[in-house]
Subunit: 226 residues, 2 copies
Amino acid sequence: MTDTDPSERTFPAGIAARLRREILTGELPPGSPLKERDHALRLGVSRTPLREAVRMLGQEGLVTLRPLRSPIVADPSLAEVLDEIAVLRQLELFSGGLACVNASDAEIGTIAQMVDRIAEQHATGDKLDVFDLDMRMHRAIADAAHNAALSRTYGEYLARLWRIRFLSARERADAPRVLADHRDMVAALRDRDPDRMMAAIGSHLDGLVRNVTRHFQRREEGPDQP
Amino acid sequence: MTDTDPSERTFPAGIAARLRREILTGELPPGSPLKERDHALRLGVSRTPLREAVRMLGQEGLVTLRPLRSPIVADPSLAEVLDEIAVLRQLELFSGGLACVNASDAEIGTIAQMVDRIAEQHATGDKLDVFDLDMRMHRAIADAAHNAALSRTYGEYLARLWRIRFLSARERADAPRVLADHRDMVAALRDRDPDRMMAAIGSHLDGLVRNVTRHFQRREEGPDQP
DNA sequence: GCCGCACGGATGGTATACCATTCTGGCGGG
DNA sequence: CCCGCCAGAATGGTATACCATCCGTGCGGC
């Protein structure tokens, strides 16, 4: 179903996935222009599907579209990111509360397994793998709320914040708290306890805000490097 | 250029606006296919910009995109609409609370004027005008929260729910409550009272849920009409 | 008489050619 | 020496031709 294989799959969305990855990993740094002809040639497709892919990324907020100008990789300010996190918080609190009511036992079991795997791999595994698994876990919680619109919008925000979350994750020395939050979430789901769920989510996002703020501060101090 | 174009200018978004209007007014009823060649010819543009416009409407949820098939005008179920309203409620509660803190006095004044005009025109004016003004007023409240991401996402949900809100608005004999909700919102903004604000918003959306549910029930009973 | 299959039209997807606007570099006047 | 302007290149926007896939229809076999 989900082609996490970004290599060569369906064109319009596949191209978008490939560009997305290049943006999120920093191969395409913020501010760099996405010239249609160049990238179309590079990726071996025509301008038409590439154009559509760029529009998708624009919708996701990863690139900034400008009329009659080259689209550029977005470079959001701290204030913009904090605004997005504030919305993400509302969506996640809502979905967490709903999930405590609507999630099936099987879904909770799946989420619990994900949490375990995250805890296991946190010491050993590849950072990026753990990060991806973490994101899928959060998405699974949103899905367990059984509200398609909510799940979709929440997913959009997660995607939009992917890069900054990844960058700021380097800073964190707070792995114990993160893992404790995860355990709390699973326990709250099992107990069908929305209050505890929301508390854990709140703690989780407070940590994210701290990390992101610190990340921007450090970037401010050490100004320039590509 | 050649074609009649009184209202909209820029092509890609302009075409989308035109199609959107045709969908929302019912000229393009739910389920009808949006064949690229036909509508491109009809609107006097090429397939390329029309295609992009259709993608925009797909993103908005007004049309359903199917791979290798004609896109069709979306026809959401009651459950889907209620899910979307649930998300809209969270976004609106959040923006209402924020607006009580962040709104400038000037913004509150503008919103108050809009509320007054809605109340005036409710008896006399054109239904569609009042409806449009109502939507702009709610959007103004969201803007007064001073969170760009929230404003954008809230706007998307308002747009997505435009048609069903309009259709179900016919049912309502609850104009007094709606207007009272509006007055409550303005009072809450002036008093910087988030609790009262959220209560008014809750009442407002409860009414919407009732109207929408009733609308679907009646549609169920009297099955067919184009 | 019914089911299956092949063929042709319809339709979305892609590639490419063309147009309009904008950016850039250099030249000339102040 | 600097500012402004003008031509040409670069680049996004649009139109169109071509291709792949799907769908309906009718013919033929069972």
